[in-house]
C-alpha cells in the first residue's frame, strides 16, 4: 500500500520538479529560436565558402571572399563605407529633428502627440517605391533641382532615410523622455539660467542616451541594407551593390552578406561603447 504522500506527489508535481520541467521547456524554446536565427547564417557561411556545391569541389575555400575583398576593382569597401557615411548623416539628422520635436510635444504640446505619432508612421503607410518617385519628381527641377548632381541626390537620399528612421527614432526617444521628469529637469535648468540649446544638449540628451543609441542602431541597420530608394536615386550604396552582385555571381553575394552582417554588428558595438563612454549614467530620474 502506498502512503498518501506518495500518491499526492504523483498527482501534483513537486515545486522542484515543476521548476525543472519549466527550465527544460525554456531550453527547448531557446534552442529552437537559436536554430531559427543561426541555421540560415551558418548555411550562408558554408555556401559562401563554395561548400559543398561549388565548382572548387567538396573543400571549403575563401576564393569567393578574395574576389570581392582583395581585387583592386572591387566596390565592396567603397560602397559599404559610403553606406556608413549615409547612415551616420541620417542618424544625426534624425536625432536633430526628432529629439527637439518629441521633447517639445511632451513638455508643451501633449495634445499634439497622436498627430506627431501618426506623422512618424508615414514610412509604414507609403511604400518606399512610391515615396522615392515622389522625391525624384519633386527634386528634379526648380525650385530644388537636387537630382541634377550626385551630391544633391545623396542629400535627397539622406533626407529619405531620415524619414524612414522616424518610426524607430521617435518611439525610442519618446520612451526615453517618458522615463525622466522632463518638466522638472527643464524648469530646474531654466531657473539656473540655462537657455533652450543648453537644456536640450546638456540636460535632455545625456539623460536619454540609451534611447538615442537604440534609435541609432535601428537606423544604421535599416540604412546599410536599404535597396529600393538607393537604387532609384542612383546612389552607390551597399544595398544596390549586394543586389547587383546577386544577379551576376553565385557564391560572392553570400560572402558579402556575411561580411556586412559582421561589420554592422561591429559598428553597433562601437556606437554602444563610444556612446556610453565608459560612463555610469542612470536613466530614469533621480532615485
Amino acid at each position: 500500500m502506498r502512503a498518501p504522500g506518495a500518491l499526492d506527489s504523483v498527482a501534483k508535481p513537486a515545486p522542484e520538479e515543476k521548476r525543472q520541467r519549466g527550465a527544460l521547456w525554456a531550453w527547448i524554446v531557446f534552442g529552437l529560436g537559436f536554430l531559427y536565427f543561426f541555421l540560415p547564417l551558418i548555411a550562408t557561411i558554408e555556401f559562401s565558402l563554395g561548400h559543398p556545391t561549388g565548382p572548387v569541389g567538396a573543400e571549403p575555400s575563401l576564393q569567393y571572399y578574395e574576389n570581392f575583398l582583395l581585387k583592386p576593382d572591387s566596390e565592396f569597401f567603397p560602397r559599404l563605407g559610403f553606406s556608413f557615411v549615409v547612415a551616420i548623416a541620417t542618424i544625426i539628422l534624425s536625432i536633430a529633428i526628432i529629439v527637439p520635436t518629441a521633447y517639445w510635444v511632451r513638455l508643451r504640446l501633449p495634445r499634439l502627440r497622436p498627430i506627431v505619432e501618426f506623422v512618424t508612421l508615414m514610412p509604414f503607410v507609403i511604400p518606399p517605391v512610391v515615396a522615392v518617385f515622389g522625391l525624384i519628381r519633386t527634386f528634379s527641377g526648380p525650385p530644388f533641382p537636387l537630382m541634377d548632381t550626385t551630391f544633391g541626390s545623396n542629400i535627397v537620399l539622406v533626407g529619405a532615410y531620415t524619414i524612414l528612421s522616424f518610426p524607430y527614432m521617435y518611439r525610442a526617444v519618446d520612451t526615453g523622455l517618458r522615463a525622466i521628469d522632463i518638466q522638472s529637469l527643464t524648469e530646474a535648468a531654466q531657473s539656473l539660467g540655462a537657455g533652450w540649446p543648453r537644456i536640450i544638449v546638456g540636460v535632455i540628451f545625456p539623460n536619454i542616451r540609451v534611447a538615442l543609441l537604440s534609435g541609432a542602431f535601428l537606423t544604421l541597420a535599416i540604412v546599410i541594407g536599404e535597396y529600393t530608394m538607393a537604387s532609384f536615386l542612383g546612389s552607390k550604396t551597399f544595398g544596390p551593390y549586394l543586389s547587383l552582385l546577386g544577379q551576376n555571381r553565385a557564391f560572392e553575394p553570400a560572402g558579402v552578406s556575411i561580411i556586412s552582417f559582421g561589420l554592422t554588428w561591429i559598428a553597433m558595438g562601437a556606437i554602444q561603447f563610444l556612446g556610453r563612454g565608459g560612463q555610469r549614467i542612470q536613466v530614469g530620474g533621480a532615485r
Binding site: 525622466i180 521628469d181 522638472s184 529637469l185 524648469e187 530646474a188 535648468a189 531654466q190 531657473s191 539656473l192 539660467g193 540655462a194 537657455g195 543648453r198 540636460v203 545625456p206 539623460n207 542616451r209 555610469r280 549614467i281 542612470q282 536613466v283 530614469g284 530620474g285 533621480a286 532615485r287
Partner: protein
C-alpha cells in the same frame, strides 16, 4: 520699498481662475510661506514668480525691477522642487555647479563655490556621487545647494519636504530655515502642511480657491484667523452651534448654557458657530470665564497626553481637548458629566469675519 512685490496678480487657465487679486510685499531676507489646500493657487503663484507661468494680469517686481515678462533663465531666482529635479547624469558637484557653468564662471571659482555649498549642506564628502546614490533628504539638500549656488535674489521652494519621511522632514526644515537665516535670502515657501508653515515662516499667506484669505505672522494666523477658512484650515478647532442672546454684551447660548464672547456682530436670535482651540479648553477648576457642561464621549490615553471628547447637549457640538498625563490622575470615565472652561476672548465666531485684535508680536514664534 519691499524687496519682492506682487501686485494684482491674476492667472486664468481658459475660463478657470487659478489665482485672483494676489497682492504681497516681502522684505529682503523675509521667509514667506504660501499655505493652503491642493488647488488653492499657491504653486501657480510660485511658478509665476519663477517665470514658468505668465500672469494674466498684475506685476512682479524684485529689487525694484519688473520681472513679470522676463523668461525664467533671466530672473536670477533659485527654485527647489518637490521631486528634487537633480540632473541624473551629473555628479553632486556638477549639479551644484551647473548654474555657475551656465554663467561661464572660471572653473576654479566654480570648484570653490561648490566646496563652500557642500560644507553648508553638510555633505562635503559627496561631491563625486550621483543623485541616485543619495538618500531623499541628501538629494533635496543638494537641490537646495544648487539653487543657492547662483546667489539668487529670491529663493523659491515648492513643497520641498513632501516626498520625505517625517523625521527627515523636521530636521531638514530646520536646516533650511538656518541656512536661509544665515544667507539672509528672501524666500517663498509653498506648503500644504500648516506645521511647516507656522514653524518656518516670518509671515504666512493662507490661500483658498485662488485668493488670499489672510497674510500674517504665524502667531496672528493661528490665534486670530481673519476668516472662517483660516480658522478651520490652520490648527484644529472645536465647533459649537450657538444662538446670539445679546450681541452688545456678547451673550450666547450653547444648548441652553450661557457663555460670553467678544465682539459679536451677528443679530440677536441668529445662529452662529463658535470655534475653540483645543489647547484653550481646561477641565473646570472653578473661577472666572465661560463654563460648559457635557457628557464624556471618549477618553484616549496617548502616553504623554490624554485626549478627552465631551458632547455638549444634543447637536450643539463636541469639544475635544488634551490634558497632560499625570500618574496621579484618575482618568474620567465615558458618560461621566464634566465641566470645561475657556475665556470669552478665546471664542472665534466663524459666521462673521473676526477682527484681529492688536497684540504685541515682539515675542512671536521667532
Amino acid at each position: 520699498m519691499a524687496f519682492l512685490t506682487l501686485t494684482g496678480i491674476q492667472k486664468q487657465f481658459g475660463s478657470f481662475t487659478a489665482v485672483e487679486d494676489f497682492n504681497l510685499e516681502a522684505e529682503k531676507g523675509e521667509f514667506v510661506s504660501f499655505l493652503g489646500p491642493s488647488g488653492c493657487g499657491k504653486t501657480t503663484t510660485l511658478r509665476m514668480i519663477a517665470g514658468f507661468e505668465l500672469p494674466t494680469a498684475g506685476s512682479i517686481v524684485v529689487n525694484d525691477e519688473d520681472i513679470t515678462h522676463k523668461s525664467p533663465n533671466q530672473r536670477n531666482v533659485g527654485m527647489v522642487f518637490q521631486s528634487y529635479a537633480l540632473f541624473p547624469n551629473m555628479t553632486v558637484a556638477d549639479n551644484i555647479g551647473f548654474g555657475l557653468k551656465v554663467r561661464k564662471q572660471p572653473a576654479d571659482q566654480i570648484r570653490k563655490r561648490v566646496t563652500e555649498l557642500l560644507e553648508l549642506i553638510h555633505l562635503p564628502d559627496r561631491a563625486a556621487r550621483f543623485p541616485y546614490q543619495l538618500s531623499g533628504g541628501q538629494q533635496q539638500r543638494v537641490a537646495l545647494a544648487r539653487a543657492l549656488a547662483i546667489e539668487p535674489q529670491v529663493l523659491l521652494l515648492d513643497e520641498p519636504l513632501s516626498a520625505l519621511d517625517a523625521k527627515i522632514r523636521v530636521s531638514l526644515r530646520n536646516e533650511i530655515r538656518a541656512i536661509q537665516r544665515q544667507l539672509g535670502i528672501t524666500t517663498v515657501y509653498v506648503t500644504h502642511d500648516q506645521e511647516e508653515a507656522l514653524s518656518l515662516s516670518d509671515r504666512v499667506v493662507v490661500m483658498s480657491e485662488g485668493r488670499i484669505e489672510q497674510i500674517g505672522t504665524p502667531f496672528e494666523i493661528y490665534n486670530f484667523p481673519a476668516t472662517a477658512f483660516v480658522a478651520s484650515f490652520v490648527g484644529t478647532l472645536n465647533l459649537l452651534q450657538a444662538t446670539v442672546l445679546d450681541a452688545s454684551s456678547g451673550r450666547l447660548s450653547v444648548d441652553g448654557q450661557e457663555i460670553r464672547a467678544d465682539k459679536v456682530s451677528a443679530a440677536n436670535g441668529s445662529t452662529i458657530s463658535v470655534a475653540l482651540r483645543p489647547e484653550i479648553v481646561k477641565i473646570s477648576a472653578g473661577g472666572e470665564g465661560n463654563a460648559l457642561t457635557g457628557a464624556i464621549e471618549d477618553v484616549n490615553f496617548l502616553g504623554s497626553i490624554v485626549r478627552i471628547r465631551v458632547r455638549v447637549g444634543e447637536g450643539a457640538g463636541r469639544i475635544s481637548f488634551d490634558t497632560f498625563n499625570d500618574p496621579s490622575l484618575t482618568l474620567p470615565s465615558i458618560g461621566q458629566s464634566i465641566t470645561v472652561t475657556f475665556p470669552p476672548e478665546a471664542c472665534l465666531l466663524l459666521d462673521a469675519a473676526v477682527a484681529i485684535p492688536t497684540v504685541s508680536l515682539d515675542t512671536d514664534e521667532e
